[in-house]
């Protein structure tokens, strides 16, 4: 058993992939070639600029270093006479060593960052291009140093773990890895040499242990008798953008389960239950505050979208008066109901405001069909949240087709996001009760085409929170249409994440017309499943 120091927690099992440090030639390059290489390195960062989150901050720090006037001037002068390796050495002495010498972990990490940026630059000078090998299978990456740029050029879901010799817990690579749930172990050169010889590795970065093997290690063998682990939250990426896979829940206990399952947050928190209390006829502000603040505590900084009370039609809440209507499905549901009972919404929003206590909040309103209903919702929300310290994002649950067609108008009146509730959207699009037997071909296709069309009307952050989002046959299509968030039932979180990470770009129009040629539901399903 070998040991190391964990820089990012977790455990992993997998085959070894040795990432050798880039070898540089030692020729002389003209100052213009250094400048061109610098531009190429900046372009590489630019290409990845939509990655978001911590990684984006790291890249922005790297860009700042590549644009540092002292560094540029120093290299321009040095390149008049020095060779590549000489210049690299001089830069290290001039810029890296002073930081390494400071008695400060933070500074030593920045020293690593400069070294990384410098090596990236040198790589471009010496090769003219820098296209790394792309990983195809899940591996444990082993290298003396692993650069952030290299890591971000890979499909992160394939990187099970990292073993390196040089690094600190505060280096950018470690920050990203922790955020992505990738364990990192730092080892000595001797251990590194042994690890490089192995075929398979099992590593536990929490305990600092590594087991090497010349044959594949099976997961069960590794876990042997351990209590079931909480699933790691591993973000998935599509075309360089992080796609959130969140969960639909109706209670605080479900929030907790969702987070333990590896969900990236809650995309739909149904609040009908929060209105029903044993003590009172209907929940008061304190009751609401209690529920939402516990939910926010449980999700601990992950995003949470709360849906305002959605009753009417098939949903009722004890203690909340219902209107008798001849056609409740098309009646006063969701926001329409709240417009007639504004005190219920006010109580709920006041509870949310006090539970939020400056934490980020996302609130969405159900059944919004036109901008005037939306105006009612945001006027009250803005009044109650006046002076709120944290970020507040407001959206509509897209269930009524009219709201999709009015997306540009809704966007310009302050809608920050849409969450497509495909269950009701389908029943309203095809005018058939959602409980009735449904036919794939005549129901899914109009919905897909509708979503596709709506997404072209105005740029907006779009989530799918209905059952369609949990159907992994449709995941590549929805991604290609621009959906960047899925909110699904808790058990579906894992498989949707997996499907997102495997999805390639497809031509939506082509696939949609292909589907139309199917003769029955079976054929349709099988065609959907072969979409890459």
């Amino acid at each position: 058993m070998l040991t190391g120091e964990g820089l990012s927690g977790g455990h992993a099992v997998g085959p070894v992939f040795v990432q050798l440090e880039g070898a540089f030639d030692n020729r002389r390059y003209r100052p213009e070639q250094w400048e061109q290489a610098r531009q190429d390195a900046l372009q590489l960062i630019e290409d990845k600029s939509n990655i978001g989150g911590v990684a984006a901050e790291v890249l922005s720090a790297h860009r700042m270093m590549l644009e540092d006037p002292d560094l540029i001037g120093f290299i321009r002068e040095a390149s008049e006479q020095g060779s590549l390796l000489e210049i690299r050495q001089l830069v290290q002495e001039r810029f890296v060593a002073p930081l390494e010498d400071l008695d400060d972990d933070y500074m030593r990490s920045r020293a690593e960052d400069i070294r990384e940026v410098l090596d990236e630059w040198c790589q471009f000078v010496s090769s003219g291009s820098n296209i790394p090998i792309r990983l195809q299978n899940p591996v444990i990456v082993v290298g003396e140093r692993i650069s952030t740029e290299w890591l971000l050029s890979q499909d992160l879901t394939l990187i099970q773990g990292i073993i390196l010799v040089h690094g600190t817990a505060t280096m950018h690579l470690a920050i990203i890895a922790r955020n992505m749930g990738i364990p990192i172990l730092r080892v000595t050169k001797e251990v590194y040499a042994q690890v490089c010889q192995a075929v398979w590795i099992s590593l536990d970065a929490d305990a600092g242990m590594i087991r090497v093997s010349s044959t594949p290690i099976h997961e069960t063998q590794h876990k042997g008798g351990c209590s079931p682990r909480v699933h790691k939250r591993i973000p998935v990426v599509y075309k360089g953008e992080v796609v959130e896979v969140r969960a639909n829940v109706g209670s605080v206990a479900e929030c907790e389960r969702a987070i333990h399952t590896g969900a990236d947050g809650i995309g739909l928190f149904r609040t009908e239950l929060a209105f029903a209390t044993a003590e009172r006829n209907v929940a008061n502000v304190a009751d609401h505050t209690d529920v939402y603040s516990r939910a926010l505590d449980v999700i601990n900084g992950l995003p949470l979208t709360i849906r305002a009370l959605d009753i009417g039609a098939d949903k009722s809440v004890a203690g909340v008066p219902m209107d008798i209507e001849p056609n409740p499905q098309l009646g006063r549901r969701g926001i329409r109901y709240l417009q007639r009972h504004p005190d219920l919404l006010r109580t709920q929003l006041e509870g949310l405001q006090s539970a939020g206590a400056g934490r980020p909040l996302e609130i969405m309103f159900p059944m919004v069909a036109d901008p005037s209903e939306w105006q009612f919702a945001i006027a009250m929300t803005r009044e109650i949240f006046e002076g709120y310290q944290g970020p507040l994002s407001l959206g509509v649950m897209l269930e009524v087709p009219a709201a999709g067609l009015l997306l540009p108008e809704l966007r310009s009146s302050g809608v920050d996001f849409i969450s497509i509730g495909t269950n009701d959207l389908t029943q309203y699009l095809v005018a058939r009760d959602r409980e009735a037997d449904w036919n794939l071909r005549s129901e899914i296709l109009p919905v897909l085409r509708f979503v596709h069309y709506v997404m072209t009307l105005a740029p907006v952050h779009a989530a799918v929170c209905g059952e369609l989002g949990g159907n992994t046959a449709l995941t590549p299509l929805l991604l290609a249409m621009g959906v960047r968030e899925f909110s699904v039932s808790i058990p579906a979180v894992g498989r949707v994440k997996e499907r997102v990470s495997q999805s390639q770009y497809i031509d939506t129009d082509k696939v949609l017309s292909l589907l139309w040629e199917c003769h029955d539901d079976n054929e349709l399903l099988s065609r959907l499943h072969v979409i890459p």
Binding site: D68, P69, D70, L71, L99, M107, I114
Partner: protein
């Protein structure tokens, strides 16, 4: 040439994000701007230079600006350092 002495009140010192923001402000001006700390001087427009000073909280630095917009540059930088301390 204008100069000014200022205490770094940000609890992390002139590190990380405060350093990056300070440098970004400096880069907006044409004046040559120098940060002097203990006996060393670095270019305020260089993140590598500013980081290498390793200025900790509650220590003093001297800012020296020289050029057409030296006074506005100095004002912007001192206000940047003061506002950063309240974060």
């Amino acid at each position: 040439m204008v100069t000014c002495k200022i205490e770094i009140t940000n609890p992390v010192g002139l590190h990380a994000r405060p350093a990056a923001e300070f440098v970004r402000v400096a880069q907006k001006y044409r004046a040559t701007i120098t940060v002097r700390y203990e006996k060393r001087e670095v270019n305020a427009k260089s993140i590598l230079g500013v980081l290498s000073l390793g200025v900790k909280a509650h220590e003093q630095v001297i800012l020296i600006a020289e050029g057409v917009d030296e006074q506005t540059a100095l004002d912007a930088l001192t206000s940047n350092l003061r506002s950063a301390s309240t974060l």
